[in-house]
């Protein structure tokens, strides 16, 4: 059951007059769910940017996000200090002029930021936010997710080429090479939990974990590989070579400004959430939690499962932020060696362990 069906049931139980039946049609429901998802992404990204600034400021002792605010608030709580920094940034981004360089390939340059966000938005279709709380539960969910994330590579390539600038082109090339290389260990890391659940559907994988245990056992190697590959896929430090400031200005986003730049920014943070949500779903049991079945009221159970999912996801997000602000950037050759010669063999090893685990547990 998807979110749309839940909203329909809500209307039915509220006693909707027959004249308003068009509200329950597929097209209206699609729009409603789309608005819900985009709203969720916007609020999440807003929160994530604030969180990232706070975490970075705490780790690296940056002044702005800790102190840009009212001195009384700064003294009051570490989380309220520097609360004006995000607002100042948002205002700066909104009032910036949207420049289009003269020599760009117009259509490609214009489409790239939209496509990069669309690819990110499409991933949200299969994420199981809670018990029966996903937009649709495709029975090929994991494959769909990987397919959609590969569209982002294309968008970055378009941004790099369409900008018609050497920094953008080099950044785009680096990014594509990196994303293709790290996609392979990522896929193999995901295969462990899929093998144990015997299904590609995200909801089924969570249910399989609710029935047995979190799939981080025995897939701990796969989990670590996924976290590393996921960091690389989202182009976050220490894998931010595509936008290494000292070498490439800002890589494929060099020529973008104003709202188009904000789209790349939005997609980056939205992808951070997706990677964490997928790690939660496949390795940490998703919305499953011991004692969840004891809650009788289905509405409260859904709400609690949603909260459990969010808490687990934010634990992973904090882990990713911790990694981001404590490691220095890799060199290009180190990046390729690490991806192909270290990460991939470990991903294979994880698949082997998962296969043996499944075989032994079937025999017993």
């Amino acid at each position: 059951m998807g979110i749309a069906d839940r909203i329909r049931n809500l209307f039915d139980s509220a006693g909707l007059p027959p004249a308003l039946d068009w509200v329950k049609s597929d097209i209206v429901m699609m729009l409603v769910v789309l608005v819900l998802v985009i709203g969720f992404i916007s609020v999440s990204v807003l929160f994530l940017i604030w969180l990232e600034r706070k975490v970075s400021a705490r780790i690296q002792r940056r002044m702005g996000p800790m102190l840009a605010g009212i001195p009384w608030l700064n003294a009051k709580s570490m989380w309220l200090g520097g609360i004006f920094q995000t607002a100042a940034d948002a205002i700066k981004l909104l009032i910036k002029e949207d420049l289009t360089p003269a020599e760009v390939d117009k259509l490609v340059y214009f489409l790239a930021p939209m496509l990069v966000f669309t690819a990110s938005l499409m991933s949200y279709v299969v994420i199981p936010f809670g018990d029966g709380l996903s937009v649709t539960d495709l029975n090929v969910g994991v494959v769909y997710l990987l397919a959609v994330s590969s569209i982002a590579v294309l968008a970055i390539m378009m941004a790099g080429w369409g900008s018609n600038s050497k920094y953008s082109l080099l950044g785009g090339l680096r990014s594509v090479a990196q994303m293709i290389s790290y996609e392979i260990p990522m896929i193999f890391a995901l295969l462990g939990p899929v093998l144990m659940a015997g299904s590609l559907s995200m909801q089924d994988i969570v249910k399989a974990q609710a029935a047995s245990h979190w799939f981080i056992i025995p897939n701990i190697i796969g989990f670590i590989v996924f976290i590393i590959a996921g960091t690389a896929e989202t182009n976050r430090p220490p894998f931010d070579l595509p936008e290494g400031e000292s070498e490439l200005v800002a890589g494929f986003v060099t020529e973008y400004s104003g709202m188009k730049f904000a789209m790349f920014f939005l997609a980056e943070f939205s992808n951070l959430f997706v990677v964490s949500a997928v790690a939660t779903t496949l390795f940490l049991g998703g919305w499953a939690f011991p004692g969840l079945d004891a809650i009788a009221d289905p509405a409260i159970r859904t709400l609690v499962s949603f909260l459990v999912f969010l808490v687990k996801t934010y634990v992973i997000i904090l882990l990713l932020m911790w990694i981001r602000w404590t490691f220095p950037r890799l060199r290009v050759d180190q990046l390729m060696h690490f991806g192909w010669k270290t990460l991939l063999p470990f991903a294979f090893l994880n698949l082997l362990i998962a296969a043996i685990w499944v075989m032994v547990s079937v025999r017993m």
Partner: protein, 166 residues
């Protein structure tokens, strides 16, 4: 299947395919090729072949085209030069495409297609996997394709290797 949706996707795919061969800029032609692949994936999805649709996007859009475009981006003179074919190439290309289309129509209309059985919707990815590894089904062709790809890979390395390079 919604006919309006199907026909709009079909027209989109055909136009994108025409643009692949007609656009003078090779990078734009590559992007049109990706649009074609995406449209075909949409047709698969409409036929309830979800696994096939996802794999189409993953393999063709996400891997093959990206590698292709990567090569275009690395060869700078190719990306900026306008590629135009000669008249004889246009004629022979149209001829081959027309003949292929004709044969496809003939084969589709004369062949007895198996009907009945479960619709694609109920076919899980696991069932497809089992068919690949069943020696009464597709095991032999599957392994043959695997060997063919390996041969192509080794061949590509051999061709690309510099003379006297050990």
């Amino acid at each position: 299947m919604n006919p309006i949706l199907f026909w709009s996707i079909a027209v989109f795919v055909v136009i994108a395919a025409l643009m692949v061969v007609r656009l003078p800029n090779i990078f734009h032609a590559g992007l049109s090729l990706i649009a074609t692949f995406g449209g075909v994936a949409a047709v698969y999805a409409m036929l309830d072949a979800h696994f096939l649709a996802a794999v189409q996007v993953l393999i063709y859009v996400g891997a093959i085209s990206v590698i292709l475009m990567f090569a275009v981006m690395l060869t700078q003179h190719l990306a900026q030069r306008e590629v135009r074919g000669s008249m004889s190439r246009h004629v022979s290309g149209a001829l081959v495409a027309g003949l292929f289309g004709l044969f496809a129509v003939i084969i589709v209309n004369t062949q007895q297609w198996p009907s009945g059985g479960l619709p694609f919707k109920y076919l899980q990815a696991g069932d497809i996997g089992k068919l690949f590894l069943d020696k009464n089904a597709f095991l032999v062709p599957f392994e043959m394709v695997a060997i063919l790809l390996l041969v192509a890979l080794v061949g590509a390395v051999m061709v690309a290797r510099k003379e006297g390079d050990r």
